[in-house]
């Protein structure tokens, strides 16, 4: 059915709401990539069968949603309207779990204790979704629907207020839409943080026979998956955001065309987006004469080329043109000469996902969240040595401490917090002394890191800062497109220097060379990859210089990570000869008689550290 007006939209909405109101309960099984890998699809079909067996069909609705961000706790099941949050449901036995859930919760109305989240520190069990510390301090705008709606059902999106922003925007003048976005101060979520409204304005002003609207879903930062989550869990939000952008940018007779460039490895995102596009077309929300307004816009999906650098806007456009994905100089902006040299607006997935809420709730609402220079929220991919890992959306300006210790639940195994790394390969580390830093675009840049796409890796005393920089240098060396000299040759030389430092062959000149390479790459590289590649290196040098010096001068890795610089030995005083290490050592390097102190043969030891981890008496020492 075509939706031609606000009234049409309202009627779809009220029908969908009535359908769910007729149900006593809704069981939402997470169908995001993480939970699917824990077998949530089988769990859902087991639940479906049990619900039928117990003749609950008329009272209970079962649906699959996108990701809740807490994938390590999958499969997640939520029961509405009670806000019951179940985690690790049926990791081992789906049938049994489904049986328990249906009997206990749906029939008897009680909670299944074993499915509840228990706090890793206090061990307290919690029922309410929004009271779980991982969620309590989050504020969800871009992720507002993910986990709640069925991404394959446009009515479910409309029921939560979907496409109301489009109706509202199409009733405004395009210039007024741009004004609203400018007033909201929304900055691009793809890395650079460029003001979205200004970008739209330039693209609108630029003259051309056609205009292009691109959604960047290439998401190449290691460990980041916020864009995937949105595309999988709430594809219509992305479409709605893009149509609003297209409407604001199109001018006169110049048609506008859209592309969603999706990372090669995201099949579920492609599937859900494809379905959403079909449904949006059927409903008259994409294609000719959208909402009977006379405005035409359609889009298609392109699969990414598989290279990290293809996420860079100019390389992405070359890739869409079917050419080699190499960046090019941006002295002339893409807003004037982008894809096929036509005016082009490119935004990130998360940026588009914020737009409908801004239009509906207003720029002032959005601008009331966040800090002076960074409004709204940002999704972070919280990983590393924290108790709770996953996707979290927080208001800009939130103190780093709250992300690490409240949402993240503190450092695993009671170890000491050392630093966080933000912004992926283009970002840097922030030391423990800055734990109260308000997290926003400008503050992160000020301390030598970056927002980037929102990677946030928490590190403890057992993480080596030299090794962290080395990891990103190796990553970037592999991903550099090789077009320009400072990046291509500079990264290779940097990596060679790190090869030396981490194996005890570094010399003091290496630090000088690293710093010079950093400066030259930052100033002289062609694209963002090379320009920011220095950040992981410079920030670790700035905040942890003594750790570099320990590697170079003392040939020691204080964190005990760089294998060539450490040795394992057994303290004869405290060793009880229990032989646990002997049983676990994969290389047979540990010798000794039962109940007598053991020794490690350095020639055979491969420094895997298993003995260190298993010893119950702390007798294995790392030096």
């Amino acid at each position: 059915m075509k939706i031609n007006s606000l009234a049409d939209l309202e009627s779809v909405k009220s029908k969908a709401l009535a359908a769910s109101a007729a149900m006593e309960k809704t069981v939402i099984v997470c169908g995001g990539t993480g939970c699917l890998s824990y077998g949530s699809a089988e769990l859902a079909s087991a639940l479906e069968r049990k619900i039928k067996d117990r003749k609950l069909n008329a009272k209970v609705m079962l649906k699959m949603s996108g990701c809740h961000g807490f994938c390590e706790r999958g499969p997640i099941v939520v029961i509405e309207p009670d806000k019951i949050y179940y985690q690790r449901v049926g990791r081992r036995d789906k049938e049994k779990a489904a049986e328990e859930l249906v009997e206990t919760t749906l029939v008897q109305g009680k909670v299944v204790e074993s499915f509840l989240y228990s706090d890793p520190v206090t061990k307290e069990r919690m029922i309410d979704y929004y009271k779980i510390p991982f969620y309590a301090k989050q504020k969800r705008i871009a992720l507002r629907n993910s986990g709640h709606i069925n991404p394959a059902d446009i009515d479910d999106y409309i029921a939560t207020g979907g496409y109301a922003a489009l109706v509202k925007a199409l009733a405004m003048k395009p210039e007024a839409v741009i004004e609203e976005i400018k007033k909201s101060n929304l900055r691009g979520r793809g890395g650079g943080g460029y003001p979205t409204g200004r970008k739209w304005e330039s693209t609108r002003k630029a003259e051309g026979p056609v205009k292009y609207i691109i959604c960047n879903g290439d998401e190449g930062d290691p460990g980041a998956f916020m864009d995937r989550s949105i595309m999988e869990g709430d594809p219509h939000t992305v479409l709605e955001g893009m149509v609003i952008a297209a409407y604001a940018i199109a001018k006169g007779k110049a048609p506008a065309h859209g592309f969603i460039y999706v990372r090669h490895e995201y099949p579920l995102a492609v599937k859900n987006l494809t379905k959403a596009i079909e449904q949006a077309r059927e409903h008259g929300l994409l294609g000719k004469n959208i909402l009977n307004s006379g405005f035409d816009f359609d889009l298609r999906i392109n699969r990414g080329g598989g290279a990290f650098v293809c996420g860079e806007s100019s390389a992405l456009m070359r890739s869409l043109e079917g050419r080699v994905g190499e960046p090019r100089a941006k002295y002339v902006h893409a807003t004037e000469k982008g894809l096929w040299d036509q005016p082009t607006n490119l935004n990130n997935v998360e940026t588009y996902a914020c737009l409908p809420e801004i239009i509906v709730k207003g720029a002032d609402w959005f601008a009331s969240i966040g800090t002076k220079g960074s409004k709204g929220t940002k999704v972070f991919s919280l990983v590393g040595k924290v108790n709770n890992t996953g996707l979290v959306e927080v208001p800009m300006g939130i103190p780093l401490r709250e992300i690490v210790f409240d949402i993240g639940g503190g450092i695993r195994k009671g170890k000491k917090f050392k630093a966080v790394q933000t912004g992926g390969p283009s970002g840097g580390v922030i030391p423990d002394s800055m734990i109260d830093l308000p997290v926003d675009f400008d503050e992160l840049t000020r301390v030598g890191s970056m927002m980037g796409s929102g990677g946030l890796i928490v590190m403890d005393e057992e993480d080596c800062m030299v090794d962290v920089a080395y990891y990103f240098v190796k990553f970037l060396e592999e991903e550099s497109c090789g077009k320009c000299v400072p990046c291509r040759e500079g990264l290779r030389r940097m990596r060679q220097i790190f090869d030396r430092i981490t194996t005890g062959n570094g010399n003091p000149d290496d630090m000088v060379m690293l710093e010079e390479l950093c400066t030259a790459m930052k100033l002289g590289s062609l694209c963002g990859l090379g320009q920011t590649a220095a950040n992981p290196v410079m920030s670790t040098i700035n905040y942890f210089r003594s750790e570099y010096e320990a590697h170079i001068k003392d040939k020691k890795c204080p964190a005990g990570v760089c294998k060539a610089l450490i040795a394992y030995m057994i303290d004869p005083e405290s060793c009880t000869g229990c032989q646990l290490c002997v049983k676990n050592c994969p290389s047979g390097a540990i010798k000794g008689v039962k109940k007598k102190p053991h020794t490690i043969d350095k020639e055979i030891c491969i420094k895997c550290g298993v003995c260190y981890d298993v010893c119950k008496f702390d007798s294995v020492k790392r030096k």
Partner: protein
């Protein structure tokens, strides 16, 4: 278009709006090193040697840009030899010299920027190729054949015919050999044969002076592309 005024190293010049800074600077007699630029082909800014420091306000924020692609506009101020400019050029040259110590002219230019002993160690496996891409663009844009291209990405990038096999579309014209700034491309001629990129071409004699001057295949190709008769193509450059 239209005239604009800009400053280069403190002196004012007029130029066309959007004219590239490198072109203006060269016209006015400034020395800016380049390794991937040539007037005959498009610009890609690969080598980063032509960097200059650009600002729009006296004492304001500056940016390092590649002059070969930076469009001039009213009020632009550029420095062609600032400290930052020299640093980028010096590091780029040191990196290039480490990659291709034998590349033509490189050691001399590097020395001008104070590159002495090579701290990065010298590679031996890249020949003299600095990946400037001039051969690729010349072949495509000037000759009109696409016999050359880049293979692989990043540090593994290489230039040459597709799949590193002798190219079936190469016409043996040698344009890439002449344009290569470093002497990487090897072209040899012996008797009536020319060898380049793994292929051997039969050479044609100039019908007037009798010197071998062009591959037969190239002349046939020109004939097929332009319709110019073979007998008119049989004269060498000197005898035309």
């Amino acid at each position: 278009m239209g005239k604009i005024k800009l400053k280069i190293d403190g002196r004012e010049f007029s130029a066309e709006k959007d004219e590239y800074v490198l072109d203006i600077a060269k016209r006015e007699g400034f020395e800016i090193p380049t390794y991937c630029h040539n007037d005959q082909v498009s610009r890609e800014a690969r080598c980063r040697l032509c960097v200059v420091e650009a600002r729009w306000q006296e004492g304001g924020h500056s940016r390092i840009v590649t002059s070969c692609l930076y469009p001039a506009d009213e009020g632009l101020m550029v420095e062609t030899n600032s400290e930052q400019v020299r640093l980028v050029r010096r590091v780029v040259l040191e990196l290039l010299l480490a990659r291709t110590p034998e590349a033509k002219g490189l050691a001399e230019l590097a020395a001008e920027y104070g590159v002495g002993k090579n701290r990065f160690g010298a590679d031996t496996d890249f020949g003299k190729c600095i990946l400037c891409g001039l051969c690729v663009r010349t072949c495509r844009e000037v000759v009109g054949v696409e016999a050359l291209g880049f293979r692989m990405r990043g540090v593994l990038k290489q230039v040459g015919p597709a799949f590193a096999e002798p190219s079936s579309v190469c016409i043996g014209c040698g344009a890439c050999y002449f344009v290569c700034p470093t002497g990487h491309i090897i072209m040899t001629e012996k008797g009536d044969e020319r060898k380049i990129w793994g292929r051997t071409f039969k050479m044609e004699k100039c019908s007037k002076c009798g010197r071998y001057f062009a591959p037969k295949y190239q002349l046939e190709w020109i004939n097929s592309q332009t319709g110019v008769a073979m007998d008119r193509l049989s004269l060498c450059q000197d005898c035309k």
